[in-house]
Subunit: 216 residues, 2 copies
DNA sequence: TAACCTACCAAACACTTGTTAGGGAACGGT
DNA sequence: ACCGTTCCCTAACAAGTGTTTGGTAGGTTA
């Protein structure tokens, strides 16, 4: 995403980069990012101290700076990694060129799968992206949000023109409605629950598409 | 329309009243709470410094402590005031003893009215209530949430038994769905928009009850 | 005039924050 | 045996945090 060398991973080419504290084994790095994401999601980014993260990881605060060069770059890497994977899935769906209704169904299902895999990252994204996006470093958050809106709004418009969706609704309101109902699930979703992401997606889609009132 | 002063200290539910620096004219106090709420909502509670609030109010940080005895008690008063008014509205709806569908409609409409009047407080509530509720001082947040769940879940259950709502949906999932769709609106709602709270409520209800897919 | 209250300022305090510098133990390669 | 790397610790720093203390201009009351 915003990482300088997004190309092929682990390029061993000795770039003229300064020591960006990159471990040879990114294994521990990911471990630490996971615990950091968990704490960020639970307490909020600003309320989380690096000492708390280090504590949770079984080390001291200063030691974190061997792996990362700032608290900010931790949340940066968490969010950009998540968004990269998210768009891998979304782009695949959009490239399939399905009908409007099927596209919505696929996007919702894919979203719940991402929530399942990146629960913490999604929670962080929801809470913090708004004021993080103000910093130029996190410009990709705004970009992603615009791309997001374009994909969903476009699909909804196609669906209205196509007759799949109701034409009497404010389409921007509908967009926010669908978007929010999907992503807020990250705030209560627990992967150990009995609902699989696909099952939750099915029920959500049933509500969003057909409503909760009984039909006669 | 500004509300006529409630006269008797609108005893907000939660906080134990000790010797709190209470002004003779609560007017300035409310002014300060409004600006504080605005900053809290925009930046997040932890990311907001008392110096920033004071700056926005045109005074110095220490001066705030003439009106309030801590930053925490500011957000406390903001949230408890909001919840008190919210439950005034909810209790009136519930006391009317309407049918399940009409109750849901009335609750949703009332919710959007509250969002209209307390946009900042609602935004704060959504972002911060989760970790604020951990402190005993904010126990009323948990209480309110339980009361909330009871009212909504009960109404949904009545509606299923009654035939107004579909019986094939997971009712807890439906509850979270309806609850979230309503309250996340506070994150994008702007009172200067062209939609009145009632109009937004109408569209939301239309989507939640009947779905966005076109019926044949 | 004198006492008093309101609403603020000025300046500090104690503490927490993210971050850095230097060092050292373990380990593998040569 | 030597070197280099990896990964962490110890100990501090400077900036920022919420909060307190003492003071004071202006208005109101007696």
């Amino acid at each position: 995403m915003n990482r300088p060398d997004t190309g092929s991973d682990n390029g061993h080419v000795p770039t003229a980069k300064k020591k960006t504290t990159v471990s040879a084994t990114p294994e521990r790095r990911r471990e630490l990012l996971n615990t950091a994401a968990e704490v960020f999601a639970a307490q909020g980014y600003n309320a989380t101290t690096v000492r708390r993260i280090a504590d949770e990881a079984g080390m001291l605060a200063g030691s974190l700076y061997y792996h990362f060069d700032s608290k900010e770059s931790m949340v940066d890497e968490i969010l950009s990694t998540f968004l990269t994977e998210l768009w891998d899935g979304y782009d695949a769906v959009l490239a399939a060129d399905l009908g409007p209704r099927e596209t919505i169904e696929a996007l919702v299902t894919e979203s719940f799968r991402e929530i399942d895999r990146h629960r913490a990252a999604v929670a962080i994204y929801q809470k913090e992206s708004k004021h993080l996006a103000a910093q130029p470093r996190f410009g990709y958050l705004t970009e992603s949000q615009q791309k997001f809106e374009k994909a969903w709004l476009g699909t909804l418009e196609r669906g209205v023109a196509d007759g799949a969706f109701r034409a009497d609704l404010d389409i921007r309101l509908t967009y926010r409605f669908v978007r929010d109902t999907v992503w807020v699930a990250a705030s209560w979703y627990r992967p150990d629950g009995h609902h699989s992401p696909e099952e939750i997606a099915r029920q959500y889609l049933s509500m969003v598409l057909d409503g909760i009132a009984r039909r006669d």
